[in-house]
């Protein structure tokens, strides 16, 4: 089983604060982390590898040079090899352009690593929250996809995927090669050991630059220029204020006041 996991480095959105005066995001000092859903995707791949010791996990990340840190973190918890896709030509890409670059880079990486049977992505990246790059990679490569996966089980060229749906779960069968996007399962990703961290640090991470893809990529479909969607403006959401606070002497009294207000205001 030859697996690829797409890893994005994202700002830790739980640490983001809003500048109370300028109403803009304060990104300074916000740590960069591995997108949590990608960590789950990697865990899914690692669980397949636990059962199939000759399976291989390759990682790919598109981003600036410091995104190398995210790849190092992931190498320490199950990745065998990692590639960074980086270059200013790729900057400003929307999801369609990003997925096109990643799909092209995947073809390039396959020249060295062999054809991938399963491509894992996170369900969504927590900075953009779009959940589009995974299905779009699948479309560029013309592979079937299963989204909202909790776990995947490989049996020869058949992959059984436990997919979350409104009513619970479905077990979906799909043949390789395929794309699987992973949501939060009810287990946590494994931790690195000191030894695996040191080994990861020593690993060489090749960078794939625009020049490496130039002969196989359409430069009109990448970067800001090649992105069909354009951000017109950003703004901070209006914070609702002026709600009614109820705090009576006893909890019973508070409940009574709440009830009376709800009835008076015809809330229920």
């Amino acid at each position: 089983m030859n697996m690829l996991v797409c890893i994005k480095q994202v700002p830790d959105t739980t640490e983001i604060r809003i500048d109370p005066v300028k109403h803009t995001l304060i990104r300074d000092g916000v740590p960069s982390i591995v997108n949590p859903f990608d960590a789950y995707a990697l865990e899914c791949a690692a669980r397949i590898k636990d059962k199939n010791p000759d399976a291989k996990i390759t990682l790919v990340c598109m981003g600036p040079p410091q995104a190398m840190d995210a790849l190092k973190t992931c190498l320490a918890v199950g990745g065998d090899k990692a590639y960074l896709v980086s270059g200013r030509e790729f900057g400003g890409s929307d999801t369609l352009a990003t997925s096109y670059i990643l799909a092209t880079a995947i073809k390039k990486i396959e020249e060295t690593e062999g054809k991938f049977d399963i491509i894992f992505c996170g369900k969504q990246a927590i900075d953009g929250d779009t959940a589009q790059v995974g299905p779009e990679i699948a479309e560029h490569l013309d592979y079937p996809q299963v989204t909202y996966a909790h776990e995947a089980f490989a049996e020869g060229d058949l992959v059984k995927v436990k997919k979350e749906v409104d009513e619970g779960f479905e077990m979906i069968g799909v043949k390789t090669p395929c794309v699987i996007t992973v949501t939060k399962p009810n287990f946590e990703p494994r931790y690195p050991s000191i030894k695996s961290k040191m080994a990861a640090n020593r690993k060489e991470i090749p960078t794939i630059a625009f020049a490496d893809l130039e002969s196989i990529i359409d430069s009109g479909r990448i970067g800001l220029k090649g992105s069909p969607t354009k951000v017109k403006k950003t703004f901070t959401p209006e914070v609702k204020t002026g709600g009614i606070i109820i705090k009576e002497d006893t909890n019973e009294a508070s409940a009574k006041v709440l009830f009376e207000r709800l009835v008076a205001d015809k809330v229920m």
């Binding site: 995001l25 589009q132 409104d166 009513e167 619970g168 017109k232 959401p237 909890n251 409940a255 809330v267």
Partner: protein, 337 residues
Amino acid sequence: MEAKTKDLWVFIETTDEGNAKNVGLELLGAGRGLADKQGGKLVAIVIGNNVDAAVKASTTYGADKVIVVEGSEYQHYTTDAYTNAMYALVEKYAPTSILIGATNNGRDMGPRLSCRLKTGLTADCTQLAIDEESGNVAWTRPAFGGNLMATILCPDNRPQIGTVRPGVFKKGEPDESRSAEIIKEDFHVAPEAIRTQLLEVIKEVAGELVDLEGAEIIVSGGRGVGGPEGFKPIKELADALGGVVGASRAAVDSGWIAHAHQVGQTGKTVGPKVYIACGISGAIQHLAGITGSKTIIAINKDETAAIFNVADYGVVGDLFEIVPALTAQIKKLKGIE
């Protein structure tokens, strides 16, 4: 692709039984103004099996025209069957804009379709407008876990596509007397072109279906409920109100309640009339899922909890005393013993 018409399409997601899901009908309401401004028709796209009920609902809720694709291969959603059918319809009719509900299935199909059409897609929108300068749809959506809003245009490619959160727009008033032009398209997808197979259905909790997205009243519990038994008063309040039980991720992660109940960025996005948050601190990821609620009520013993910033009614105090007291008052009012 060049748009051949100025029409705005709304994808009407159907259930396996052929009924329209609420979100499609909500989007017909939201799409009316956009279609009028664009100078085109409001068209409902209904794909499924035995979907007469969904076609009727589309008419009743405001479509000028309904395009229907029926077949047994569409009864249960699959990426391949639905994307192929949508793609064939778009190729034929070339609308200028498409709205899709941001449900699990909508967000599975949307990127596949837009990528095949090599056009832009804006995910999970919460506001829709027509950009005055350019006449394009202005898609507004939250990013960074709800900390920032972005307005996005797709100026040079057609159709312009967006997925829109369920519950953000309210369904319009149904009008049984309306009629619409109905077009049946005979399009089928071969079995071998559907590359995924449903092997087994695993129901979360026997018989229990958690319809958070469609619920009018939700009572949610967080870490503050303290354990699985802590959901008992929550459930009792929900039952008294005829509502559904929700939960924060902290409660789900602690194993107190099934994930199907989770509300927020990694759970469900909800838009009830009343959302009651009990023992929930109001982390941005939780708030991301509830801002579509009409009225938010918070019960928390920590006066400084962030949930109070978004609550219309905030009660400071112990939920184990306040919730049962509230339940008792409501039962008394409704005459339930």
